[in-house]
C-alpha cells in the first residue's frame, strides 16, 4: 500500500509524480530569493524519471538511503511535500524539526545524509539487518557518478556481494559531479566496477519513466531474490545547476539536454485533458506545502542531546 496517491503506477500518476518533483524544486529554488530558505540545495530537475520509475515498483516498506539530491527520491517514495518544505525552511514542523535541512532527512524507512559515499556501508548494514530479520525488504541506496570516487562504496560492494545482501545500488549518472564532467572523474567502465564484485548491473541511458520502471523492476527483483546485491545504472541529465549557480555547462549543452525532458517524453502518453488536471493538482500540493510551511514556527533549542 502506498502512503499517498503519488506512487500509483498508471501513466497519469507517473507523470504527476514527476511534475510534483519538478514544481517542488522550482518553487524551492525561487524561495531562496525571498529569503525564506537559506543555505543551499541540490535540485532534482531533469532526473525525475529515475525516482518516479523506481518508486513505482519498489515496495513502500522497502528501505531507502538517499544522498544530497534527495528531494525527488523522497517525494516519489511517498513523502509529504509539506513536511519537506517545512524542513527546508527550518521549521519545527519539518521532517526532522529543522535540524537536518535539505540533505539530512528521515521519514519512515527513508533516510538521507550529505556525505558522499559514507551512506553506502550504512545502507549495506541496513540490508544485513533486513535479511537477518527476514523482513523481505530490500534497501535502495542512491549515488551519483561523482560518488564513484569514494572508497567506502567499494568496501560496501565487496561485503554486500560476499554476504549476498538484499541491496540495490542505484547509480544516477547525470554526467557531472558538481562542475566535474564524468570523463575527468571516472576511469574505465561504471558497470564493470560493479560486475567486478559479482554484482549484476541493469544499465540504460534514458529519461523515459517507463523504461526506468521496467529496468528497476528487474533490478529490484534481483536484489530481492536472495542472490545478493544488484545495481541499476541510469544515465540521465540534470537541468539546473549542481546547487546554486555552479554550472559550467555551455548554453548549447544545456539546450541539448533540455530536449531530453522526462516530462515531455512521458507526456506523449497522456491525453490532452490530463495536463491541466496534473498541473492544478500539483500546484495545489506544492503551493500548499510551501504556503503552509511558511506559517509554521521555528524550532526551539532543546539543548540536551
Amino acid at each position: 500500500m502506498r502512503y499517498n496517491v503519488l506512487a500509483m503506477d498508471d501513466n497519469f500518476t507517473l507523470y504527476k509524480t514527476m511534475l510534483v518533483i519538478r514544481r517542488f524544486e522550482e518553487r524551492l529554488l525561487s524561495e531562496f530569493s525571498t529569503g525564506k530558505i537559506v543555505g543551499t540545495t541540490h535540485a532534482y530537475i531533469g532526473q525525475e524519471a529515475d525516482a518516479a520509475g523506481i518508486f513505482s515498483v519498489v515496495d513502500t516498506e522497502d528501505v531507502v538511503f538517499s544522498n544530497h539530491r534527495c528531494h525527488g527520491h523522497f517525494l516519489a517514495y511517498g513523502g509529504e511535500a509539506y513536511q519537506l518544505a517545512a524542513e527546508l525552511m527550518g521549521k519545527a514542523s519539518g521532517l526532522v524539526g529543522g535540524r537536518g535541512g535539505s540533505q539530512h532527512i528521515h521519514w519512515r524507512n527513508f533516510y538521507s545524509n550529505g556525505i558522499q559515499g559514507g551512506i553506502v556501508p550504512i545502507a549495506a548494514g541496513m540490508a544485513l539487518a533486513e535479511k537477518e530479520r527476514n523482513t523481505g525488504k530490500i534497501v535502495l541506496v542512491f549515488i551519483g557518478d561523482g560518488t564513484l570516487g569514494e572508497g567506502s562504496l567499494y568496501e560496501s560492494m565487496n561485503i554486500a556481494a560476499l554476504w549476498k545482501l538484499p541491496i540495490l545500488f542505484v547509480l544516477e549518472d547525470n554526467h557531472y559531479a558538481q562542475t566535474t564532467p564524468v570523463e575527468k572523474a571516472v576511469a574505465g567502465s561504471m558497470s564493470a566496477r560493479f560486475t567486478a564484485f559479482g554484482i549484476p548491473v541493469w544499465e540504460r541511458e534514458t529519461s523515459d519513466v517507463l523504461e526506468v520502471r521496467s529496468l528497476a523492476m528487474e533490478a529490484a527483483a534481483s536484489a530481492r531474490s536472495g542472490t545478493g546485491p544488484a545495481c541499476l545504472i541510469l544515465h540521465t541529465h540534470r537541468f539546473s545547476a549542481h546547487s546554486k549557480g555552479d554550472d559550467p555547462r555551455s548554453p548549447e549543452e544545456l539546450a541539448r539536454i533540455h530536449k531530453i525532458d522526462p516530462l515531455t517524453i512521458h507526456g506523449l502518453r497522456l491525453a490532452t485533458e490530463e495536463f491541466p488536471r496534473a498541473a492544478s493538482e500539483v500546484a495545489e500540493i506544492v503551493n500548499n506545502a510551501f504556503d503552509r510551511a511558511s506559517l509554521d514556527p521555528f524550532p526551539e533549542l532543546c539543548s540536551e542531546y
Binding site: 528501505v63 538511503f65 521532517l95 526532522v96 524539526g97 535540524r99 537536518g100 539530512h104 528521515h106 533516510y111 545524509n113 556525505i115 559514507g118 551512506i119 553506502v120 556501508p121 550504512i122 545502507a123 549495506a124 548494514g125 541496513m126 540490508a127 544485513l128 539487518a129 533486513e130 537477518e132 530479520r133 534497501v139 572508497g151 567506502s152 568496501e155 560496501s156 565487496n158 561485503i159 560476499l162 554476504w163 542531546y305
Partner: protein, 330 residues
C-alpha cells in the same frame, strides 16, 4: 583469577545469549583465532550466524554497524587496532553519532565499536597509539574504557545495551590483568566509592587526608596506583584516585569533589599530551575552582617509536606520575 579479557569475552557471550539482536563483526574474529586479542573467542562457535568476519574495511565495518543499528540489530564492531579509528572517523563523527540528533530523535543508533589502544608491546608507530582523544567531545558519541576496579563485563554489557553509539577503548596491556578485589591487596588502604549508573566513576580515598588527586582511566589506573603507593612510601604524600569509566561526555562531579578536598590535580593518560583527555579535566576544573594546581602526565607529542628504549621515554611512566605529584605538592 579473572582477567579483563575473560570478563570482556564473558560479556560478549552473555549479551549474544540473552539478546539475539546482538551481532558481532570485525576482522579475523572467527574461532579458533577469535580476534587479534582473543576478545571474541568462542563466539563464532556458539553463534555462527551472528558473528561476521569482515574484509579489511574499517570504514565499512562501522558504517554497516550504523545501518544495522538503525534497522533493529545491536552490532558490536571490533576494530583490530585502535590506530585504525582514523579510518572510521567519518562514520563515527558524520554518521553514527549524528543520526539521532539530526533526525530529531526519531531514531536511535545502538552500536558499540570496540578497539584496543596503547603501546608498550613494541608494535611500532601505527599499532601502539592511544587515539581515543580524537573522539572525546564528539556530540552524540560515548567513549568508555574498562579498568581493573569495575567489572569490565558490566561495562561492556552496558555499552551493548546503550541505545546510543559507544566507542569502547580497551588498552592492550589490560587484557591479561587480574580484576582487583575491594578491600584486598592494594585496595586495602583505600575507601572506594562509585557513582551510580552504567559507567561508574570510582573515588579511592586513602586512610589519611589526601594531598592531591590523581585522575585516570583504563590501563593508567595501574600506573597511578603504583605512583600513589610510591608517593606514600617514599614521600608521605597521600593521593585520592579518581578512576573514570566514561571518558566522554565528560561528567566530572566526583573529580570536583575530590579537588575540593585536595586542590591539586594530576591527570594521567597514555595519549600524547596536547589536547588529550587531561586538558578537558584541567579546563573544567579551573573553570569551576580557583587556585587549583594542575599537572598532566601523558605521552610526549611524538609518534610511538618501535624501539623500546625510545618507547619507554615517550610513554608516561610511574615515575612521571610521582614527579608530577611531587612537583605539585611542593
Amino acid at each position: 583469577m579473572t582477567t579483563v579479557l575473560d570478563r570482556l569475552n564473558f560479556a560478549l557471550h552473555r549479551s549474544m545469549e540473552s539478546d539475539e539482536r546482538v551481532y558481532v563483526l570485525g576482522e579475523d574474529i572467527l574461532d579458533p583465532y577469535g580476534g587479534a586479542f582473543k576478545v571474541t573467542r568462542g563466539l563464532s562457535t556458539k553463534f555462527p550466524t551472528r558473528v561476521l568476519t569482515t574484509p579489511i574495511s574499517e570504514a565499512a565495518i562501522v558504517g554497516m554497524a550504523s545501518g544495522m543499528a538503525l534497522r533493529g540489530l545491536i552490532p558490536v564492531a571490533e576494530i583490530m587496532f585502535g590506530d585504525f579509528v582514523t579510518l572510521v572517523a567519518d562514520q563515527l563523527v558524520n554518521h553514527a553519532s549524528k543520526f539521532r540528533w539530526i533526525y530529531n530523535n526519531l531514531v536511535r543508533v545502538p552500536l558499540v565499536v570496540r578497539t584496543p589502544m596503547g603501546g608498550r608491546r613494541g608494535y611500532g608507530p601505527t599499532h601502539s597509539q592511544s587515539l581515543e582523544k580524537m573522539f572525546l567531545g564528539v556530540p552524540g558519541l560515548k567513549v568508555i574504557a574498562p579498568n581493573t576496579l569495575g567489572d569490565p563485563a558490566d561495562l561492556l554489557a552496558a555499552a551493548i545495551s546503550d541505545e546510543d553509539p559507544v566507542l569502547f577503548i580497551e588498552h592492550k596491556l589490560l587484557y591479561t590483568r587480574q580484576l582487583l578485589e575491594a578491600g584486598k591487596a592494594d585496595l586495602r588502604d583505600y575507601q572506594v566509592d562509585q557513582t551510580f549508573g552504567d559507567y561508574p566513576t570510582f573515588t579511592m580515598r586513602p586512610t589519611k587526608p589526601a594531598h592531591l588527586t590523581l585522575a585516570c582511566y583504563g590501563y593508567n589506573f595501574e600506573l597511578a596506583r603504583l605512583a600513589a603507593l610510591d608517593l606514600i612510601m617514599e614521600h608521605e604524600i597521600f593521593s585520592e584516585i579518581i578512576l573514570f569509566s566514561q571518558l566522554s561526555p565528560f561528567n566530572l562531579d566526583p573529580l570536583f569533589q575530590s579537588l575540593e578536598r585536595t586542590g591539586k590535580l594530576v591527570t594521567v593518560e597514555e595519549g600524547t599530551i596536547s589536547l588529550g583527555w587531561g586538558a578537558e579535566l584541567a579546563a573544567r576544573s579551573v573553570e569551576k575552582m580557583r587556585g587549583l594546581m594542575v599537572r598532566r602526565v601523558a605521552a610526549l607529542d611524538l609518534p610511538v617509536a618501535n624501539a623500546k628504549s625510545l618507547e619507554d621515554k615517550i610513554l608516561p611512566s610511574v615515575q612521571d606520575i610521582v614527579n608530577a605529584g611531587l612537583y605539585i605538592v611542593e
